[in-house]
Amino acid sequence: MTAVAEQIGQWVNEFTRQSPSAPWVEQLREAAFQRFVDLGFPTTHNEEWRFTSVAPVARATFRAAAADRLLHFAESVQELELKDIEAYLAHYAGFGQNPFVALNTAFLGQVTAFQVPRGVVVEQPIEITCEVPDDAEPVAVHPRTLILVGANAQCTIVETFKGQGRYLTNAVTEILVGEGAVVDHYKIQQESVSAFHFATMQAQVGRSANFSSHSISLGGALARNDAGVVLSEGAEATLNGLYIVNGTQHIDNHTVIDHAKPHGTSHELYKGILDGKAGAVFNGRIIVRKDAQKTDSKQTNKNLVLSDEAVINTKPELQILADDVRCTHGATIGQLDAESLFYLRSRGIGKEAARSLLTYAFAQDIVDRIKVQSLKDSLEGILFEKFHEHAH
């Protein structure tokens, strides 16, 4: 058996062990699994995976398990059953190219699905927490989420991922943002430092709707985020990201902003803090379709590199097919500013404390963009602890 066949083989056993579901679900699983077998795990020869080797995942053995999800949501939010979502599920996050999306779809079981009815403004965030408990045998969970937001509705979604020990989380979230709706999505990735985390978030943003995504990546030995948005006419999308890596962690953020129709606006700001021998990737693709005139798009990626051995690969990719658009992008990689350090030290603040303070300050503008106060407070606490551990 070839190495690839061996890797896939383990998944075949797990795939065939699944409990039966509705015929349409089983068809979807079959098609997705077939696609996964065809694609195989990506290698670094694949441009999309050039700087991220998934070999440790491909080589490992996982027992498929149901994702343990804790849900909190207001009464005005409707929880949907599998039978209600056939027309939507897997329509936005395609599995044609991404083997991890294919694998998630092949293991469709419990789907967390919500609907916010049209015109309804939900103040309380919809909270979805996925926690993987420590297990003797490494497990793979494939959490699947679908959120349908009706026209002119408003809601906030907070997805949190955490766990203990070594496991694989392979999540897919699809969000349909109706015409004129306002949706704020938060993804807080706090997996264990030995975990593997793969997550795709795909949002379809309706006419004149407003969608924001905030992706905070803190945990995982190896993590990959694929965040994609497709914008309809006059829609606005904001993608904020913060990734903090240390030790031998590796976090890859791939984003795709697809301006499919005219008058769309997108703002993207991803910031990274790298220490130790850690690695990070930022790949931001912006597509402006031929029809998407008057598009206004801004992308920024800033990285703070605290050690000599950390490695960041950052790459903007603009595909502009329309001619009357405004697109800007920029990437920076830097160290702590020597003048700022001296200024703080000249006021009596110790060297390590000054470094911590400036590192914390670097992340501050992403934290400031978080509108859920409890989330902002807890993240500030986490960052404060992370950067002040050596300060005293």
Binding site: A338, E339, F342, G348, G350, A353, L357, Q364, D365
Partner: protein, 258 residues
């Protein structure tokens, strides 16, 4: 015993020697003005005293309060009472002025064997000092120097000095870029801090500031050496006849002529 004693101080940046043998003694309570044309080494001297690592000390000694100053880290110098008012105060987005100053004050107080100030006492102290500097309290919650006007930055430096109460304050061209009203406020703030136990080194290109902050001694720096020392009347003399009256070339003026 003198508070600060500089002997034959040499310092370089990169390959270039900037300080070529400075001798200066500052006693408690004295105000010394260091004047000199651009490029004479005034700012370098100020930064070397505060511990800026960009400059390498290649010779000489600096004794501060009986200790070897050059062996101390910048933060330790600050904790021992040295304060540098920066010529170009640094903007630090993401760090609030309030948090920064409270952290600085409490570290320094701890070093002096004093209790840390709680939020209430700190705010009272800060309000009092802000009044002195005619500063808008809103600046406290803003990030350090970020979006401040030139005048606000300089006021913020003297305000920090008022809060931290140093034993040796070094003012590096605090007058540059200030209009006359701002200059009066800043000088007023500095004068309010004059005390028998507090010494100051006032670095300036122009005599103007010294009308408001009257020094006990004036030293003229040229090409990395003190070429002339005297009382406050030396500053007036310089104002009348310029640096060229001392046979010193002022780079800036040379440039203007061209």
């Amino acid at each position: 015993m003198s508070l600060l004693e500089i002997k034959d101080l040499h310092a370089t940046v990169g390959e270039r020697e900037i300080l070529k043998g400075i001798d200066l003694t500052v006693n408690a309570g004295e105000v010394h003005a260091i004047m000199g044309p651009n490029g004479s080494g005034k700012s370098t001297l100020a930064q070397v005293l505060a511990g800026r690592e960009l400059y390498i000390v290649t010779g000489g000694t600096v004794t501060y309060d009986g200790k070897d100053l050059l062996a101390m880290a910048p933060e330790d110098r600050a904790r021992e009472g040295i304060f540098l008012a920066f010529q170009y105060p640094v903007e630090i987005p993401g760090v609030s002025n309030m948090y920064f100053l409270k952290a600085a004050l409490n570290t320094i107080r701890k070093n002096r064997g004093l209790d840390e100030l709680d939020a209430f006492d700190f705010l009272n102290l800060v309000k009092e000092k802000m009044k002195l500097m005619e500063m808008d309290q809103a600046l406290l919650s803003r990030p350090v120097n970020t979006g401040f006007s030139g005048g606000e930055k300089k006021r913020n430096e003297i305000f920090q000095m008022a809060v931290l109460e140093p034993r040796l304050a070094i003012l590096d061209e605090t007058d540059s870029g200030l209009d006359i009203d701002a200059l009066r406020t800043v000088a007023g703030g500095v004068n309010a801090l004059r005390a028998p136990e507090r010494s100051m080194i006032v670095v300036t290109h122009y005599q103007r500031l010294l009308n408001y902050i009257v020094p006990d001694f004036v030293h003229v720096l040229s090409e990395g050496r003190i070429v002339k020392s005297g009382g406050k009347e030396l500053a007036l003399e310089l104002d009348e006849s310029g640096y060229s009256g001392l046979g010193i070339e002022d780079e800036e003026e040379t440039v203007t002529k061209v």
